[in-house]
Amino acid sequence: MNGLDIWMRENPLTYVWLGSYAFALLIFAVEIVLVRHKRNLTLEQIRLLREAGEED
């Protein structure tokens, strides 16, 4: 058994919590940030297009 095997058997809850739940919640957080960023970017592009159209 290598070091990770021994560690995971000695700390099963930490292994489960950090490896699965914390990681999944981190992925959800990154997805939320990306979705919000995409919305801000899209709104900015539309405003720029609108301003360019008004100048024409």
């Binding site: 489960v16 999944a24 992925i27 959800f28 899209t42």
Partner: protein, 245 residues
């Protein structure tokens, strides 16, 4: 009072409706996650065979179910868009794909973490694991194909075909543990019921509901951006308060 559901198939009305619904789904998801995690870690008993490691089930099973259901929903929307040429259906399919891919990835990741202490291996080329990996590739293929075509309507049609053909993989994932002799255990939730401890069931179903609510909230938020992007030349988008600044 009869509700005219067809009204919400118009991007302009759906955009406003989605904006109102997102906070409700997001807050409910956060509450459900908190309750599900509490029951999963503090109320549900230790498994007599797998010890504490089995607690991965409360995220692994919901993520796996969501990855399969979201694919079917995505393929359904893509088919609707292809057959009836409805704009919103194709936009919904586009918005579902990244969330479905993330759930497929979480399912594979948590499965690997569960597999290591139970089987002694992060990965085996088992029918269930391999078909779930193919599902992840189908999601990625759908997104790659859609973004590789400049014309959105043509991209919708091409990727819809891929989504529809790929949906054959979903029953293969579900029945793989029955059809083949696999290392992966049988289905945790069957149509005939489950033999799990009641607290384990509660934790899993609450986490499943939380994942559903989260997925709905994030897909609605994403589809609002897709609607804005595609309808940017229309008058109703120009008149939106957030566009006028």
């Amino acid at each position: 009072m009869a509700i005219n559901w067809f009204k919400y198939s118009a991007p302009s009305t759906f955009y406003a409706l989605a904006g109102k619904l997102i906070p409700w789904f997001a807050i409910s998801a956060a509450m459900m996650f908190a309750v599900g995690l509490y029951i999963g870690f503090f109320v549900a008993p230790v498994d007599y065979q797998q010890g504490e490691f089995y607690r991965i089930i409360f995220i692994h099973v919901p993520a796996s179910i969501l990855s399969m259901f979201l694919y079917l929903v995505m393929a359904g929307y893509a088919a609707l868009g292809l057959i009836f040429n409805t704009r919103l259906s194709a936009m919904m399919a586009t918005a579902i794909a990244p969330t479905g891919a993330l759930f497929a990835f979480i399912s594979l990741w948590t499965g690997a973490l569960w597999g290591k202490p139970m089987w002694g291996a992060w990965w085996v080329w088992d029918a269930r694991l391999t078909s779930e990996l193919i599902l992840l590739f189908l999601y990625l293929g759908y997104m790659a194909l859609h973004s590789s075509i400049d014309d959105p309507r043509r991209a919708d049609r091409a990727s819809a075909l891929l989504a529809i053909v790929g949906s054959v993989n979903v029953p293969i994932i579900y029945f793989s543990v029955k059809w083949w002799n696999t290392l992966h255990q049988g289905s945790t939730i069957k149509f005939s019921g489950t033999t799990m401890h009641v607290a384990m069931q509660q934790a899993m179903f609450i986490m499943l509901a939380a994942c559903w609510l989260y997925a709905i909230a994030v897909v609605l938020a994403r589809v609002r951006s897709v609607i804005l992007e595609r309808e940017r030349q229309t008058k109703w988008v120009a008149e939106l308060p957030e566009v006028r600044g």
